[in-house]
């Protein structure tokens, strides 16, 4: 594609979930004739089933488009889609580093939401030009003027000339493309300098090996070039390079500075091509790499166990494959007396965890048992040793603990002011410390709290949504550790501790939660041939007890005329049911029992 550098535009789209980012991306694909109408499938860019279903973007996707602008010239657009959810800030910052501009999509009736704001700040920090776009102006409740003003007040960028569009109907979407041409600066960079290419994503292809998505910052790269990854000094030879078009990969001879494209170089291991690394030429290397990304550390941990213990190695393979495309996922083997062999996995947040779990179940057909999510606690032992604990199983005995600390977040909740009472009640209940509250405009507030991370990871977001009829949005950032009175809560079934049901919790909440868990387990554990006592205890002291009564009747009375099929069917059904249970001593625990205690209703 011979398009001069000054007609290249690299940009991302920032938007809150549901504010129409994917729909806008679809319209842009149509207007640039990147896909035929036959191929046009709604939300083409979100190509994972899960993304389509949930209406969110999990991974960033990049696509190269050709746009013939009103000035009669062809422009090369590189659209890099970004995930909207706070858990994926990491991916956002990766995408933004490859761009010069960002379209900020704001819903004309709902205004700016917390995640949008957080991502917009990321973009401003990265020096990107922000192109505001007001979407959904066709809705009856749309108030584009108010939203424009909000953008100017809150973000401090001019918004009066922002295109006002309906991505759904296609109204005024052309204006967005023209704004990109006029507002987003063309990339800088010099083809003659030594190669510097930023890896912003990668995926594994069974034919090509690792396919690396790059933004060429300086220099050029072509087929046959010997390249070097600057972080690990590994060398590869470029086998193929090209552009990511909407429906296919388009091979090209070379990629030049300012362009976005892919490289395949027979790379077998994704860990060699680390996202954020800089690629240069082996023969003519750049002297310094590009600034990488801040490394993200997983904040939430949980155990994944295959329901069928023999699927352990399949689970490992699936996790390895997912990790290829998701550098923020970590995992290591762990063993549980209740569940056998599994993996301790680390995630950016709870949504990230849920998505990985769903992908394992759907794409890899694995039935999983997930243990309660945990954060990382810092424990100072009486002998002075400081340890980090992300698994309740490893929590030391009380007598060995000098002090315990838990991670604290700086949290902002944005919501209509009528919900302030509900929100504050919730935050108070979650041991939050109120910092301040700012009115964004006459109706919307930004409530600022310090909240312990372990109060957020269970169900905070769900409860927040339900208490604000879905209007609140939420953003948090880890700020550090703070001393806390923590205890380890154990659950015993028939007198045996079920290690995977243990968790670490603040002393004041242990009693209530222990009781709730015992109640929930009683509901979920089916009657067995023996009575099953359920106990919640802290350091050997029992704080709650429930009993699953022994089954009294399970019999098929009739077996008439030698027709035993019904009896056999029943037995087969029970056998299948038994397969979905975990045997712990004499007790059979169904998968739902492990799962249900993850989400205890808060009301």
């Amino acid at each position: 594609m011979l398009i001069p550098k000054n007609r290249i535009r690299n940009f991302s789209i920032i938007a809150h979930i549901d504010h129409g980012k994917s729909t806008l991306a679809d319209r842009i694909l149509e207007l640039t004739k990147s896909v035929s109408s036959r191929e046009m499938e709604n939300q083409l860019l979100d190509n994972m089933d899960l993304e389509k279903e949930r209406g969110i973007t999990i991974k960033s996707h990049a696509v190269t488009l050709i746009y013939k602008a009103n000035d009669g010239l062809e422009y090369m657009f590189n659209l890099i889609d970004t995930p909207g959810h706070v858990d994926f800030n990491y991916e956002v910052s990766r995408s933004l580093a490859a761009c010069e501009g960002a379209i900020l999509v704001v819903d004309a009736s709902q205004g700016i939401e917390a995640q949008t704001l957080a991502n917009t700040y990321l973009a401003l920090d990265a020096g990107l030009e922000i192109v505001p776009v007001i979407n959904k102006i066709d809705l009856p409740s749309a108030d584009p003027e108010r939203v424009c003003k909000e953008i100017e007040d809150v973000i401090g960028i001019p918004a009066q000339d922002a295109p006002k569009v309906s991505a759904k109907s296609g109204l005024n979407v052309q204006d967005v493309l023209e704004s990109i041409v006029s507002l987003v600066p063309p990339p800088k960079g010099n083809d003659n300098l030594p190669l510097k290419a930023l890896i912003f994503d990668s995926l594994y292809d069974s034919y090509k090996g690792v396919v690396v998505y790059v933004r060429i910052v300086e220099g050029t790269i072509k087929v046959g070039d010997k390249i070097k990854f600057m972080s690990n000094c590994l060398d590869f030879t470029v086998v193929e390079c090209g552009y990511m078009r909407a429906t296919n990969l388009e091979k090209t001879e070379k990629l030049s500075s300012g362009e976005v494209g892919y490289i395949a170089a027979s790379i077998k291991n994704v860990s060699s091509a680390r996202v954020g690394d800089t690629i240069t030429l082996a023969d003519n290397p750049a002297s310094e790499p590009l600034p990488g990304y801040r490394t993200v550390n997983p904040m939430v941990f949980c155990g994944f166990y295959p329901l069928d213990g023999s699927k352990y190695s399949e689970l490992r393979e699936a996790l390895e494959k997912l990790q290829l495309n998701d550098a923020s996922l970590t995992f290591e083997p762990e063993t549980s007396t209740a569940l056998g062999f599994g993996f301790r996995c680390g995630f950016l947040g709870l949504l990230h965890m849920e998505i990985i779990q769903e992908r394992l179940e759907r794409e890899y057909n694995l039935d999983l048992i997930t243990t309660a999510p945990s954060v990382i606690y810092r424990i100072t032992k009486t002998n002075g040793e400081v340890i980090m604990i992300d698994n309740p199983t490893n929590y030391p005995e009380t007598s060995l603990i000098e002090s315990a600390e838990e991670p604290i977040t700086d949290a902002h909740i944005y919501a209509p002011s009528s919900y302030v009472g509900n929100i504050m009640e919730l935050c108070q209940d979650r041991r939050g410390i109120f910092i301040n509250m700012n009115y964004l405009d006459s109706e919307r507030v930004d409530i600022h709290y310090k909240l312990p991370l372990n109060e957020i990871v269970y169900d905070f977001f769900d409860v927040l949504k339900s208490r604000t009829k879905g209007y609140a949005s939420f953003d948090y950032e880890l700020t550090g550790y703070s001393k806390s009175e923590l205890v380890k809560l154990d659950i015993m079934l028939n007198g045996n501790v079920v290690d995977t049901l243990s968790f670490i919790i603040h002393k004041d909440k242990a009693y209530q939660r222990g009781r709730k868990m015992a109640e929930k387990l009683k509901e979920k554990i089916p009657r067995q041939l023996f009575e099953v006592p359920i106990q919640a205890c802290i350091g050997g002291k029992i704080i709650a007890r429930e009993t699953v009564k022994a089954m009294r009747k399970d019999v098929l009375a009739k077996c008439y005329g030698g027709d035993i099929t019904r009896k056999k069917k029943l037995l087969e059904k029970q056998k299948e049911g038994k397969k979905r249970m975990r045997q712990l001593g004499n007790v059979e625990i169904p998968q739902e029992a492990f799962m249900s205690v993850l989400k205890l209703d808060n009301e």
């Binding site: 009747k553 399970d554 019999v555 008439y560 035993i564 056998k575």
Partner: protein, 366 residues
Amino acid sequence: MKNIGIYIHVPFCNGKCPYCNFYSVGVNDILIKNYVNAVKQQIIYWGNKLKFNADTIYLGGGTPSKLGTDYIIDIISNIRKYFGNNQDEITIEVNPCDYNILDFEKLKFYGVNRISIGAQSIHDNELSLLERKHKVKEIIKMIENTRKAKIDNISMDIMLAIPEQNIKSLKKSLNFCIENNINHISTYMLKIEKGTTYFKIKDSLNLPSEDYEIELYNTTSRYLTANGYNHYEISNFCKSNMESKHNLKYWNYDDYLGIGPSAHSFVDKKRFYYNNSINDFINNPEINLENNSYSKEEYSMLRLRLKDGLLNDKFKEIFGLDIPKEYFNRAKKFIECGYIECNENKIKITEKGFLVSNSIILNIIY
């Protein structure tokens, strides 16, 4: 010659009982005639094919008594023609209403030696809630007529956990059987099956609670045992040596051939059955073969329904090897709570364990 039990499924009924989900059709003279012809043809077909001796014959239903004496004799005679004259037991199920349409002396002459009466209860109010067409007086007449013909081996069905039933009324029904010297009692717990009238109206039925059902079952077991009956199968009681020889075949892995719509067979380790359609049976009587129907697990599941339980000798006779060790290992944990008794030669479920036998069996064999 190898023995076999012959079961004839007679699908005719005067109306459908609201709790019943067995295959049945209304009484219709032409249909009955065609049905009997089809039965005879199948007897000929199987008789020529199998060359077995029928040591038991059982006419069940439906309502076999609706066939009338001559058709019943016609069927039995044909069976004896093709499966030999040497029967230990010939049972006919009867509806008490039909006490005066059957000629028991004639039936006796042709070999019928056991009558199974679908009494269900000995209370008129319970019977009317079950929408049975008979009353207690017909049950009494039926017993009288049977005995007059010197057919003394009588079995009665008594249902448990039916609407309005209580311990007292149940005991009265059981007492009736005891006083009338009934040899064999089948006590089926009412189960509300999908597709029945009862299923639709189950909430208005005033059914006993699960706890009360258990109480009714235990009462039956205690009461009949105390009165000299042997609780030989989960739902069956009998006086000494009066087990249903035909029904025992089902649990013992013995051969049986079922003829009639929806009738099931187990012959030479294979299970097969006719469609549950009388028209198919008359016009196109093909059988369907079941898969995976011969296994240690299946045999164990069946034998464990019997009080005698799983015996190593018999197991070895059939499978050529001992009862798997793991069965014993798994059974052991149920000894302490009194659900299981076992020694090196057998595993048996106790009367206490019968009520949760599905779970116990599952735990032993899987």
